[in-house]
């Protein structure tokens, strides 16, 4: 076991300080050290998007970022975004459209969808499909997810 490095970071608005191994990635830190198990681990090589987390405002692959890189930064996970109510309309759309089945991809998908709607308030279906194509879902076939994001966007534009 290598020497622990102290990491101090704001996680969902709460300041945390922990000694971590330098090789610990951000999603493992969040899941196993902080017990925030809403962020999932799907592939551990940056492909599937299940571990999507917000770091310093940007969505990142929690498996490709080291926990030490979050030192001094801000981390937001599905738990924080749920508790703040920031994505509650997106979550409502996912619920009513059944846009999650097994729930493995769902937290990462929501974080990606949230980032998309920040960047592009009125994405087309094609733009939605392209933006979320880095988040794998094995259950839904994606259409329900595209529908839910589209509905949220329309509602935010007052069209819903």
């Amino acid at each position: 076991m290598s020497k622990l490095v102290q990491v101090t970071t704001s996680v969902n608005g709460e300041n945390v300080s922990r000694g971590v191994e330098p090789r610990t990635n951000l999603v493992d830190f969040v899941r196993y050290d902080l017990e925030l198990t809403g962020s999932h681990v799907g592939c551990e090589h940056g492909v599937c998007g299940a571990c999507t987390i917000r770091l310093n405002g940007n969505i990142v692959r929690g498996c490709l970022v080291l926990a030490v890189q979050a030192d001094g930064g801000t981390v937001e996970t599905i738990e924080g975004l749920s508790e703040s109510g920031k994505i509650s309309d997106l979550q409502d759309s996912f619920l009513s459209r059944n846009a999650g089945q097994c729930g493995s991809c769902t937290p990462g998908m929501l974080l990606t969808a949230d980032a998309l709607l920040e960047e592009n308030k009125k994405p087309t279906r094609t733009e939605i499909r392209e933006y979320i194509s880095g988040n794998y879902c094995r259950c839904t076939g994606y259409e329900a997810i595209v529908d839910a994001i589209e509905t949220t966007s329309k509602k935010r534009q007052g069209e819903g």
Binding site: M1, E21, R23, R31, Y32, E35, L36, T37, G38, S39, H40, V41, G42, C43, E44, H45, G46, V47, C48, A50, T77, I78, E79, S82, Q91, F94, L95, S96, R97, N98, G100, Q101, C102, G103, S104, C105, T106, P107, L110, R125, T126, I128, R129, E130, I132, S133, G134, N135, Y136, C137, R138, C139, T140, G141, Y142, E143, A144, I145, V146
Partner: protein
């Protein structure tokens, strides 16, 4: 089949059947509040990782583990030999697949490794990373052996025989011979022959296989948090092989992150984890990482099928013959066996059509590759692609619209009950109504006109169909008769609490399909209680009735019917109490929206909550000779038919870029008849999700092996799964032919999408490439194969 009062569940007021109510358990998943096996953290919990064989076939000469045992954080190291003393080997055969054989399989390899990825040594440490570090310090000396990795040569006289007790690599062979195919082919005006290939792929559940085993030596009690589709089956298997009492094993699987058939089998690494917990008397966690999932999860498909069809000039199917060869792993998978897919292919080929002469041979051969077993739509995509490919080719040869030829040969909707050509009884199907509905949805003539125009511009679009039958709601004929401890029946318990809420336990499991939602909707309807007052418990052997779980599209049809029956019993019990309190005949009362009402005018009489209060707190106000029973348990399995067949018909519209070989899916339509639809939105999304997995197999997914049995693309970057950007919108329609076996009338809906999509895509692809006079029949249809076919590379 109506209830005892003459009313069916379909006559209930305020029905939740046929309504797209949101799934009650989705809310917490959307908030990151799921509870998957890897989320479980127990005091003193250890982590296990496995050294896996780097070779596909080798003798183990020596295993050196001293350095690993001494490594930081390591608690114990176990070889196969050591674990074999605690966990007995299994044999993955079912006796009703006559003549099937497979040798005993240990949880870890003992003296030979037989596939790349087979677990060899288990390292237990304080953390997974530390266990992995220690694995690097283990030295295994192997003596490489010749391999059998190609199914086409694995039965040759000079092939390497994987198991020394057998004379060759044959695991099982099935032959079906109905009518007289020889004469029928001789009489046919057109006989078409083609070879079809189906690549080896895997399930890629986004949550990998996960288990936490917690053996308490004090109570001799084993608690397992496992990502599984069949908790009671797992309970029986762990008890048998670890010499434990079944009632002292509790399996909890609260949330399961996708399963698709992959999590219904015994895996050596999971059994090893349980054995280690038993040895150490401590909780042990194993979570497969993605790389090892590719090597250790079951693989699927991998078939070469020679198909032959004979038709008359008028388009009548006279005979079909298939010869199917499939390469499994070195063992048939326990306890469901690796023969089911071939069995299904023999049963289902030609399924939608009426013809007299059918011959099938299916052979299952051992290979030095990962074990192959049941994955979503077992056998169906193969049987359907072969049938529908042959039909399409025959139609083209006699210059007939393929859909016309299908309609000419389909078993008529009013010609049921019937039997498939292979002899399986079928209760009722709707091929004609479903096909008519599909053709209403697909703007076929427009697509054809556009196709002609675009071809002039060098744009190649195609349209293809596939009709199918699907096995759902299997009875004991599926596994139970073959000796596997797999329940075909399911149960549902319903308990009224003192506030008028219902606590429901179901033995079917939730992997995202909406099982809990279905049970909630059925109970709500059967009792007259609103879904917000119903809590459904699933995935816990200690708190649910005994049952099979969720696989083979059985949850709604079987578990749902048990829920309907249990709901009916508790409604009658509530009304018995209401009758006493209201001085009315119970038969004149009903329950609607949590209120006891008059059947005649619907007037509210008292709340169900009041019944709960009286029964639990003021039993003294009820007659002395009356005892209220506010918990009911009912069970169900289908008895008249071995399966409830469903039918479906698909259409794929796509465009082929003849310069790059890329296939762009433009649209996909599917009409599905799963009998009673409980939750239309859930069913549609089951079909869509299924179609997309079918698309995966048809276009992208393949485990690519070299001739040394080494997987060349065992990671998610190189193994392609469907992504959102390359998928079309999928239009779903329904016809509802209820099964009369149950009151609910529901058949399964989970697999028809996966079953039908590949055949429709293949036909559409070949339609698109018609001007090139080529035919692609080897899935996945990669750009390379397209370009090779049309001579561009």
């Amino acid at each position: 089949m109506a209830g005892s009062n003459g009313l069916s569940i379909h006559d209930r007021p305020n029905s939740y059947i046929g309504r797209s109510v949101p799934r009650p358990n989705l809310s917490r998943l959307l908030k990151g509040r799921g509870s998957y096996a890897d989320d479980v953290k127990l005091p003193r919990m250890l982590h296990v990782a496995f050294l896996r064989s780097s070779l596909a076939h080798a003798e183990i000469i020596k295993i050196e583990t001293d350095k690993a045992s001494a490594a930081s954080g390591v608690v114990a190291v176990f070889t196969g030999k050591e674990l074999a003393e605690v966990c007995s080997p299994w044999v993955g055969v079912v006796t009703h697949l006559e003549g099937m054989r497979s040798p005993p399989q240990d949880v870890l390899a003992v003296d030979r490794v037989r596939w790349q990825g087979e677990p060899v040594v288990a390292v237990v440490a304080q953390a997974r990373a530390l266990a992995e570090d220690a694995i690097e310090l283990i030295e295994v000396k192997y003596k490489e052996l010749p391999l059998a990795v190609n199914m086409k040569t694995a039965l040759d006289a000079d092939a390497e025989v994987i198991h020394k007790d057998y004379e060759n690599n044959l695991c099982w062979e099935r032959n079906v011979n109905v009518g007289d195919v020889k004469s029928a082919f001789a009489e046919a005006d057109v006989v078409i022959e083609e070879e079809f290939q189906f690549g080896r792929h895997t399930g890629v559940t986004l949550e990998s296989r996960s288990i936490v085993a917690d053996y308490d030596p004090g109570e001799e009690m084993l608690t397992l948090y496992q990502s599984t589709q069949a908790p009671h089956m797992m309970q029986a298997l762990f008890a048998k092989h670890l010499q434990l009492e079944e009632h002292k094993i509790r399996i909890i699987c609260r949330d399961v992150g996708g399963a698709f058939g992959l999590k219904a089998h015994a895996y050596g690494d999971e059994f090893a984890t349980v054995a280690i917990s038993k040895i150490l008397g401590r909780p042990v966690k194993f979570v497969a990482d993605r790389m090892e999932s590719f090597l250790a999860d079951i693989h699927a498909r991998d078939h070469v099928v020679k198909g032959k069809i004979g038709v008359s000039k008028a388009g009548k199917i006279l005979a079909i013959e298939i010869d199917d060869l499939t390469g499994i792993g070195p063992y048939s998978v326990y306890p469901r066996s690796s023969g089911m897919e071939v069995n299904q292919i023999c049963n289902l080929t030609g399924g939608p059509y009426k013809f007299e002469n059918y011959k099938a041979r299916g052979r299952v051969v051992f290979l030095n590759k990962p074990p192959m077993c049941q994955y979503r739509a077992v056998g169906h995509p193969i049987a359907i692609t072969v049938t529908e490919g042959l039909v399409e080719m025959a139609a083209s040869a006699i210059d007939m619209e393929s859909m016309e030829m299908r309609k000419l040969n389909m078993v008529a909707d009013d010609d049921y009950p019937n039997k498939t050509v292979s002899g399986i009884p079928v209760e009722n199907l709707s091929h004609q109504a479903s096909t008519d509905k599909l053709m209403e949805m697909v703007n076929y003539d427009e697509i054809r006109d556009e196709q002609k125009k675009l071809r002039q511009e060098g744009i190649f679009r195609g349209v293809g169909f596939a009709a199918l039958i699907e096995v759902t709601n299997p009875g004991p004929a599926f596994y139970g008769v073959g000796g596997a401890p797999i329940s075909a029946q399911d149960g549902c318990s319903v308990k009224l609490d003192a506030k008028g809420n219902l606590i429901v336990g179901t033995s079917i499991t939730e992997q995202g399909q909406g099982a809990e939602s279905v049970i909630s909707q059925v109970v709500a309807t059967a009792v007259g209680i609103t879904p917000d007052k119903i809590k459904v418990i699933s995935g816990d052997t200690e708190n649910t009735p005994y049952g099979g779980g969720t696989w083979a599209s059985r949850g709604t049809g079987i578990g749902g019917e048990a829920a309907a029956k249990a709901g009916k019993v508790i409604r009658d019990s509530i009304l018995d109490v209401a009758g006493i309190l209201l001085q009315n005949e119970p038969s004149t009362l009903d329950i609607q929206n949590n209120q006891v009402v008059n059947k005649s005018d619907g007037a509210e009489r008292m709340s169900v909550a009041e019944i709960g209060r009286v029964v639990y707190y003021r039993g003294d106000t009820l007659p002395k000779d009356f005892q209220a029973e506010m918990m009911a348990v009912q069970h169900y399995f289908p008895k008249s038919y071995p399966f409830a067949f469903t039918n479906s018909v698909h259409c794929s519209h796509l465009e082929v870029d003849v310069n790059t070989g890329f296939i762009k899916l433009l649209k996909h339509w599917a009409v599905e008849d799963c009998g009673t639809v409980i939750n239309p939105q859930n069913v549609d999304d089951q079909v869509r999700g299924g179609v997309v997995q079918g698309i995966g197999g048809a276009l992208y997914e393949e485990c690519i092996y070299n001739d040394q049995g080494q997987l060349l693309n065992g990671n998610l970057a190189d193994y392609l799964v469907p992504m959102s950007a390359e998928l079309p919108d999928i239009v779903v329609g329904h016809v509802e032919s209820k099964t009369f076996e149950s009151d609910l009338g529901a058949k399964g809906a989970g697999e028809a999408g996966t079953a039908g999509a590949p055949g429709a895509i293949m036909n559409a692809l070949n339609d698109a490439l018609m001007p090139f006079d080529v035919r692609l029949t080897r899935q996945p249809f990669t750009p390379q194969k397209v370009l090779e076919a049309i001579g561009k590379i």
